[in-house]
Symmetry: C4
Subunit: 257 residues, 4 copies
């Protein structure tokens, strides 16, 4: 008979869930982890992430560590799913399966001390620019952060014919090198890596990068002359609030459900 | 017989409605503020405003004052967030942070005595026309109000390389000058300012300006000859109801949630 | 004091509502009226109608009468809002405000004895074809009903420079003439009139006309050769079920809310 | 202490779940049928199926049988609607009306022993490529499974001028022949047939085929050079998880309603 055999398992699972919730996070980090969970849900809700892609945050108390969900669709991530990684993208005391492309995060954090959060997405409006010789450029003031252009990472330059995944330290480093000091890099036939000085900034940039791509595409298709941002103009047009105002309404949408 | 049984209930409901309206604020302003709050929510719900942009209404009892939310995402605005401003865009007895671009509203109200409401948006379908040499023109009878064209405000003409924000009286006046007697002006690389003789008209115009932009873009892309509205035709095709009928269903969508 | 003065009015309104619900419709018509209300909600839910446009059904018991809502956004229509009209589009014993363009319905019913339902919409994907010299043609088998083409009604040919509204018997007749024996006609800079042998067919055609327009536009933009339906092929590809299967799921969407 | 208090509840929940699973049908098939029902709902929810189209699964216990809903909109399908068919697409002990195009499923299962699930859809972004001379090609790594191209089925080659429906064994066989060893075939002016080694893979491929079509169209329209996947690259870029991660979040969307 199966039922008695399974009951202890169910009880154990319940115990494990409670224990894990009670023992993992000290109160200090909780706000950071909560924001990271919200970031996952916002990016899913706004159509930037679907079943794939991910978002991470660097540990402000230990700049050699970062937080990232276990392998899971972003829309389903909870605080209990967050794993702590070192910059080699090795998990700390956690045996659950991680994202194969976590090296995107580890290697960017290593190369860019200013970066506190990283989004990797397959944003549908951005991918066309990743496979086209036409460059993505700022046409909307909400995306003026790309005023110095968006480099494109071609994985063929690193490893030739591949499975397209940034699934090794070598590929992660190559992507970080292409990213340089930019706020975002496109990944040919794949998506983008977007960074920021906070979770909110990285999320806001990922969302407005997608919107700018839509707008630029429509502007080009009209067939007339397109006025892009001048570099000086783009520099001055920094988002005035780190996307705080937008974060509030994006968050409401995912918490009101 | 059902009717006598229901009559007292109907009477009670009527009493309750009147009582609630009488106890909160003077009846005159409350309806105006409620409409302004609803306008914020409608513009968010219809995709015209996201975390940014704003909508205001002139005080009909004092044409030198207008109402506008404190700095907040439109989808989150409540009656308690509304601030009263004078035409210099100084708040009246309110110390909360205001929108940096409130001068768009103040300067348009100063220049245009006929205008009772102003929307400033970053409407995604409209921005392509703000950066293209191809002008936005009326192709849908719901947007016939732009039959005399939509001027484009180039902030470079006012202040050279800027942060793109209409964050000073000078820039607000320059925008109002470009707007002239039109119902809307595009703002290059930024969005639009849309005006009307009521909140409902300004909201309706903002929504149908966006729709007309989508339709015109698709019409142009088909590659054939496009028939635009003749000026006389556009003049005659004024919205027959001040967007009242549409307002009712847009409002239902935001109140049913 | 205001409250006592208003109470009798509220009571009268309640009485009027109940009385109107009790005296207007015999049970026989109720299924037809319910379908018409559902049609209003489906067309709103599927994005074919917004605050404007309308859908009507001919009275099967009296082919000289048709049913159409009073002037109201389709998404808000209830059974109590339906007015009975004769073919001159005069209401029968109803003093409420009607749609100004109800002549679209009356004149099509007069000219086309086979038509039992009419949709007038401002469908966004269809309007580009109404202002372009590029004709709308069948590319999807779900819209094969337009295999013989879709005529375009140019109101300038009837009344020169107008307010674009089919708000007179003369304009309604001219539209019906352009429609001829087709299932749909485009109205330049305005929208479409779509007809069918039942409410479900008219609704289904309106929805798939919009979808076909989207698909054809994308097919044209690809820049290659496009294969359209041959007339014979289109004739054979009649919808197999009068859109019954689709109606069921569209209806579920509007009743599940 | 909370843990002992919760354990009995967890045990009860586990008991309830097991009991419910045991009383309805044999456990082996129930999971398969449940996944098939979920697949119907996911494809409706993600906009791949509307009132039409269908998804089937081969019986793993009898490779000469497959499961498919009776004729019903996919969004409305429940376990009770599923019919068992043989490879001639004859129902087994079921007299309810079946889909007229069930031969798509039966003939593909006959020709392709590796295929365990089939989706037939009218995906709006894919149809343009079905009528255009421009071929659908992989631009997104999520659709690298089409790296060897997507054949187009022209029903005129089989039966000349038709009603476009694959409603006979002959047409089903012709479609299966065009499909060959590919993961998908387009059907001119109609839609697509997409196959996989599991329900989840067929569903995932149908969704990402649609997304790739959108992205490729936008990439082409930009007017520059487009970099497509190299065949070797496409082969290596197999979806790493059989779309399991995406399935979980798609499923949550349809079960949370």
């Amino acid at each position: 008979m199966k039922i008695p055999a399974l009951t202890p398992l169910a009880a154990l699972l319940a115990l494990a869930t409670i224990a894990s919730a009670q023992t993992t996070k000290p109160p200090r980090d909780q706000a950071l982890i909560d924001d990271l969970v919200t970031a996952n849900h916002i990016l899913a809700s706004e159509g930037i992430l679907d079943g794939y892609g991910h978002v991470s945050v660097r540990d402000p108390a230990n700049s050699n560590h970062y937080f990232l969900s276990r392998s899971l669709a972003p829309g389903l991530v909870t605080a209990a799913d967050i794993i702590e990684y070192d910059l080699d993208s090795n998990p700390l005391g956690d045996t659950r399966t991680g994202y194969r492309e976590r090296f995107i995060h580890g290697e960017i954090y290593r190369a860019r001390p200013d970066v506190m959060a990283v989004v990797h997405d397959h944003s549908p409006s951005v991918i066309p620019f990743s496979v086209s010789s036409v460059p993505l450029r700022a046409v909307s003031h909400m995306a003026a952060f790309i005023g110095e252009g968006v480099p494109v990472f071609e994985i063929r330059d690193v490893d030739g014919m591949t499975d397209m995944l940034v699934s090794s330290p070598k590929r992660g480093r190559a992507l970080a090198t292409v990213l340089g000091n930019h706020p975002a890099a496109l990944m040919r036939g794949h998506g983008a890596a977007v960074v920021g000085e906070s979770v909110k900034v990285a999320v806001g940039r990922a969302i407005y990068l997608d919107l700018n791509a839509k707008v630029q595409e429509q502007a080009i298709l009209l067939g007339g002359k397109v006025t892009y941002f001048e570099p000086e103009e783009a520099k001055k047009t920094a988002p005035q609030d780190g996307f705080e105002r937008a974060w509030d309404v994006w968050k409401r949408k995912v918490t009101a459900k």
